[in-house]
Amino acid sequence: MNLTVHIEKIGRQTKSVIEGYGRLSIMLFHAFASIRKFHLYFGQIIEQFIYIGRRSLPIVIITSIFIGLALGVQIGTQMSPLTPAWLEGGLILRSILLEMGPIIIGLILSGRVAAGIAAELGTMKVTEQIDALRSFAIDPVEYLVMPRLVAAMFAVPALLVFADFFGILAGFVSSYFTINLNWAGFVKGMHHSFYVSDVFASLIKAFIFGIIIVIFGSYFGFNSRRGARGVGKATTLAVVWASVDVLMLDYVISAIMFFI
């Protein structure tokens, strides 16, 4: 009996999650379809680009530097004394390019941007500002979601370039102090392990993570209800689900790129 109740509960929750993904996909499709009117919202797109991109830059750089430093120490100390030291350049390059860079960006922006969007749109929802848009025949997805989506599709890959650059640079500094690897050796290692496809994979991940972050923030914001507590809950859900989906899609994209 007790087991049946639990199974029913799991079933209901699973159904609810699937329905949620369905509604989120409809919103995403709607936002993409609205891109044809981007010229009407050029000001908002620029404003959102600054919010998502420029204002996230310091935290992205700081985080990347520390990840790069940690990678340098970890890889340097775990390499066998028989392994050529210059290989560390390649290991750091590929780790940051393929995984650490996109993941850092995805998770940091899930916390900063998805939360910000969910809180802002959630407040607009509970104070009837979204209904006010609709009452004036302004499509809320077109006005609120599409500019953020377009901005994120450009801003997140741009942030990734900075994250990769500072992460790799920090990785070199760390390697220099850990195993005394010089710049020439580091570059040799990077050159040895560099594949253009890695850059594409990295940028594709950032592009998709940008979409994920905006759509989860917007979806939970649009669906928030019951005042301040509801907005808080929407914000938490946006961060949690955006982070989970960033990690899931990171695996999926990595697997696809591997097989390609």
């Binding site: 607009m124 104070t127 009837e128 500002q129 209904d131 009452s135 025949a137 302004i138």
Partner: protein, 243 residues
């Protein structure tokens, strides 16, 4: 003319509107009164398409808007209608002028000069001057209501729906808003549908009034004839015996 026939709306098991019949005559002010939670705001939101009725019809100028999707509402209904929300619902990240400008730009596709003219005119008509660059959180309650009305009338709607425009205001400010609603109706010829608890205001500015009770309109009468009605619930409500 807005004609509502046998309108039903439920939220889950809770029936809010249970067969509403109502006609809003052109160029008149109709006020809907009723206890809190009887679905007055739900009725307004059904008319402007923010909520979808379960059954019944809403005809606006002979167009049956029932079952319209968002795009059809945006094209056929909302350009001739505006709603003043109970809590004003001004977009708080924008200045007052930008609030008015947004809808003019996106819905009406007006040029900059015409938009500026409309912003100035609408703010002047509600008695607000030099607040174009002020943000909503810097305005008092009465100014917020007037700014929301300015945003609505800038669209030059044929129908203006007010959701409790005087709620939360002191008697002096309520009077100011009531006079403003009357002025808008008379000078601009805008048909007004108001949700209100302010019985004195209703009597003063409305052409006629209707009472919503348990999901139905139980009385419709001329506002000046409110006190002559025989319906006990209506009488008790306007005399403040039930709230």
């Amino acid at each position: 003319m807005i004609k509502i026939n046998n309108l039903h709306k439920s939220f889950g098991e809770f029936k809010v509107l249970n067969g509403v019949d109502l006609t809003v005559e052109e160029n008149k002010i109709l006020t809907i009164i009723g206890k809190s939670g009887t679905g007055k705001s739900v009725l307004l939101k059904n008319i402007i398409g923010l909520l979808e009725p379960d059954s019944g019809t809403i005809e606006i100028d002979g167009i049956d808007a029932t079952g319209f999707n968002e795009e059809e509402f945006n094209k056929l209904i909302r350009p001739k209608m505006a709603l003043v929300f109970q809590e004003s619902a001004l977009w708080d990240s924008m200045t007052v002028a930008a609030n008015i400008d947004l809808a003019l730009q996106i819905q009406k596709h007006l040029g900059e000069a015409e938009r500026k003219k409309r912003i100035k005119e609408s703010l002047e008509s509600v008695g607000l001057k030099d607040i174009e660059n002020v943000y909503p959180d810097e305005l008092s309650g009465g100014m917020l209501k007037r700014a929301a009305i300015a945003r609505a009338i800038a669209m030059r709607p044929k129908y203006l729906l007010y959701d409790e425009p005087t709620t939360g205001l002191d008697p002096v400010l309520s009077n100011v808003i009531n006079n403003l609603i009357k002025k808008i109706n008379v000078e601009m010829g805008i048909t007004s549908l108001i949700i209100s608890h302010d019985i004195q205001g209703v009597e003063k500015i409305s052409d006629y009034t209707a009472m919503l009770f348990e999901g139905k309109i139980i009385v419709t009468c001329g506002a000046k004839k409110m006190w002559e009605q025989k319906n006990q619930i209506f009488n008790d409500f306007i005399r403040g015996k039930i709230t």
